[in-house]
Symmetry: C2
Subunit: 172 residues, 2 copies
DNA sequence: GAATAAAAATAAGATACCTTAAGAAATGAA
DNA sequence: TTCATTTCTTAAGGTATCTTATTTTTATTC
């Protein structure tokens, strides 16, 4: 995928942090192998996952990247991964992109927005059990691949409660 | 706003429904005066508001509009409003847009995505009280303008509970 | 492959938020 | 103004989900 210019490529180990809350980021990250996550820490130090980025997904703090303001999220490898960097300087002003690049990026933003809107609807209207079922349908490979506690954090429940949900579902 | 081609313009009355769940929409709506909302109905018939669109905001079911699939949301006027239509046929393939239009639309999607990501973070990590406070800071004019029950639906609580939150906050 | 650490399961008690219901206040219609 | 409708408030009881703690299972390291 992707005609967006990438600068360097690096290997990162599970647990490595690529972006910290408060930092201004110059990069978007394109995952080639492995998986990253983005998350916030709330007042109680609890982690809340905004996004998983397995192979061929991009991940960044878009607001920090675009507007050069402090990030509200952390980005961290949850598996050993290979990551390509999309540099702010080469990608800087949206107005300097080629038409094909503009189409690609507008389509990416649009599809991401559609998916994120669905997530908001789920968070507003569905029970935790239904959100978990929806997650398994939408990301069947991630369900196999990710530890329960990360999925719990993504759908907005505690690991203990997701464990209970799974037990309940397995009895059906 | 801006340079996207609009076809017709109509007046709608408070309560008028412009798009129903299940319909495939040909339009995006640009609000010139008044205010619209988009929302879903859950299994229990409860309304959950995805978006408010006051003056100069666009509102649509982007997935239905883009991919010509049944809408998951309703769009309805919550005030008497004047609304311009952005027609699917003139706006059809993203690849047929001018470069300036592409820049405009990519920027719109991006900014909308940034805002929606913030909303997801709030829904995952903040209490109802904090989400209400955040709403008042982000949309101070809407807080004055909208009935409590619509704000409650947007932040994801019942009107009764938001009423309790307001009472508690007013005591501080 | 034992030792250690991390993740998951289970369970009891706590709390944020919901449901239902009724009355008060505000809004709109005639 | 008066009546009717909608919105808001208040309160009691209920439920989904959380917190804390302990045990079991799985993964990691030397």
């Amino acid at each position: 995928m992707g005609i967006l210019p990438t600068t360097k490529k690096i290997k990162v180990n599970k647990g490595d942090v690529l972006l910290k809350q408060g930092q201004i980021t110059k990069y978007g990250y394109l995952v080639e192998t492995g998986c990253l996550k983005s998350y916030t820490l709330d007042n109680n130090g609890k982690e809340h996952i905004l996004q998983f980025a397995p192979e061929n997904w991009m991940i960044s703090d878009l607001d920090s990247f675009t507007n050069q303001i402090p990030s509200v999220i952390f980005i961290e490898a949850i598996e050993d991964s290979e990551v390509a960097f999309i540099s702010k300087s080469e990608f800087n002003e949206i107005s300097q992109l080629e038409k094909t690049e503009l189409i690609e990026i507008a389509t990416k933003f649009r599809n991401n927005l559609i998916a994120t809107n669905k997530r908001v609807i789920g968070l507003l209207s569905a029970t935790a059990e239904q959100r978990y079922i929806d997650f398994t349908l939408l990301y069947p490979t991630l369900v196999q691949r990710l530890p329960l506690k990360l999925i719990a954090s993504y759908i907005g429940v505690t690991p203990e409660y997701l464990s209970e949900i799974r037990r309940k579902l397995s009895k059906k």
